[in-house]
Amino acid sequence: MFDFLIFSLTIAGIYAIMALGLNLQAGYAGLLNFGHIAFAGIGAYATGILTAAGYPALVGACVGVLVAVVLGWCIARLGRQLGADYWGIATLAIAEILRTVATNEDWLTGGAQGISAIAFPLGNLPRPWGALGFLALVLALLWVLALASQRLGDGRFGRALRLMREEPKLAACMGYDLRALKSRAIMAGAATTAIAGSLYAHYMSFVGPDYMLASETFMLWTMLMIGGMGNTVGVITGVLLVQAAYCLVPFAKDSLHFGSDIAGALRIGLIGLILLLSLLWRSQGLIPEKLRKIQ
């Protein structure tokens, strides 16, 4: 039970970092990124490939962040002339192409089997302490990144992004370069998410193409929509709520004797239901973003 709690909290922490990355793009800048999980996948694969080749964990994480930032730049370039919904579909397609490549290029990514036996950084500590130490590492990183994202959101950059989201023409009139703002938001989000992907690969000691399933992106969106887009506290609340719902499913499965199909259905259905209800009755999320009104 204690182990399960630590496991759930660690996973929640990692998802919270990914959600913070998405929040930079979707929450502050209003960009419909439906391929966000690709950044996490790149972080995870960079870690898997490089640690398997014998490089230290930090190199893997750094390369993952770099590649993700480059991909973010390319996606932002692609979005220059597209409407928001068209761009959303394009990001979905990019993530699916990357997943197809990861599934098929055996020489690089291990194909559908993925890469296993990635070193767990604190694996040599006695039993509860390794997992606890990793949890502390994840939470510390989350804290730092949440603070940074809060500062970024409240500072000049975040205000410019919000202005771009609400009144793009006014922002352009005030001399902001909208394209540069968008690409910077996407690149910052990509870097954050790649760190989370790298952590995930270390924690699971495994990376496979299933990490990049589109449903993962949709789950991150659910977390954001429930908690409140554009609000750091709201994002973390949403992550905790969704993760709690996910953790309850195995218990329900055991106590009510479901099959695994029903448990899977329950998991997807629960997220879909919460998302739909929160959209219908509270589209700002539980903890809405505070916008200053200009008199």
Binding site: L78, Y86, W87, I89, A93, T100, V101, W221, L279
Partner: protein, 297 residues
């Protein structure tokens, strides 16, 4: 060569009806409905359900089309109309939530194992060198028939003219006294029914399975975007183009490039081919191949 053409046409008919419905609805409500491909999945399961209950195949499909059409209408009235007040982005995410709910519902009710229709086994037809299954032939014929009927509806009746007017300029159409709400309802119903028909016909060969909708999502969107969202017959042309590319990618022997006698692309890359077309289309022709409007940015 003929086999190649037939393969392309069969794949086109898999995608065309669903893409057509998607594009049709987009023209009126202006948001890409991600749940649309799940209507096809629901239609396939409902057809299976009715057929297993003893209803003849054609009637089972008809019943399932009506049921899914009604569901589409109800969802439009209860969910999408409400969400559209908060803008297209929110509505698109809402359609995502609905898609998840539908998948969860079918997964919980029918399980993850594909359900095959109980159809009499027949040898595929052999015309010259071409092989085609009976069900595929029926599906192809039905699709062609429906497309002809639909084009007639769209271009030669007053309802069709009203649909085109509404998708072109909603305010102007409403000002000229068209009943926008009624037409939107009609279009929603028929798009759901068309999706259910497409899904059912696809399921006659592949079986009804939970991923039927998700597997179609990107090819169908690629087809609709290639044709220009809101242009229903463009979506059919887009579906043909996607099918053509997929068939070329699977059948092309490009061994001469590598100096080997035989070299085919791995089958798993077929889906990536249609995503790639989607990306190229978005890069160079974001408003579809048949876009003649001049836009100011």
């Amino acid at each position: 060569m003929f086999q190649f053409l037939i393969d392309t046409l069969v794949r086109t008919s898999d995608l065309a009806l669903v893409a057509l419905g998607l594009s049709l609805v987009y023209g009126l409500v202006k948001f890409p409905n991600i749940a649309h491909v799940q209507y096809a999945m629901l239609g396939a399961y409902l057809s299976y359900f009715f057929q297993a209950a003893g209803v003849p195949m054609a009637l089972a499909i008809l019943l399932s089309c009506c049921a899914v059409g009604a569901l589409t209408l109800v969802l439009h009235l209860l969910v999408f109309r409400r969400l559209l007040r908060s803008g297209p982005a929110i509505t698109m995410i809402g359609s995502l939530a609905l898609a998840m709910l539908m998948v969860a519902f079918t997964l919980g009710l029918f399980g993850s194992f594909p359900l095959m229709f109980k159809l009499p086994l027949t040898a595929p037809l052999q015309i010259g060198e071409v092989r085609i299954g009976h069900t595929q032939l029926y599906a192809l014929a039905t699709t062609v028939l429906l497309l002809v009927l639909f084009s007639a509806l769209l271009f030669y009746t007053s309802t069709g003219r009203a649909m085109r007017a509404l998708s072109c300029n909603r305010a102007l159409a409403a000002a000229s006294g068209l009943n926008a709400e009624n037409i939107t309802r009609l279009v929603n119903f028929s798009s759901g029914a068309l999706a259910a028909l497409g899904g059912s016909m696809l399921a006659m060969t592949s079986g009804a399975h939970v991923n039927l909708g998700y597997d179609m999502l990107l090819p169908v969107f690629a087809a609709a975007i290639l044709g220009g969202l809101g242009n229903p017959l463009g979506a059919v042309a887009g579906a043909f183009l996607i099918a053509l590319t997929e068939t070329v990618v699977t059948n092309l022997n490009f061994g001469w490039l590598l100096g080997k006698p035989v070299a085919f692309l791995p089958v798993a890359y077929i889906s990536a081919a249609s995503f790639l077309i989607l990306l190229l289309a978005l890069l160079f022709k974001p408003y579809g191949l048949f876009d003649r409007e001049v836009r100011r940015v």
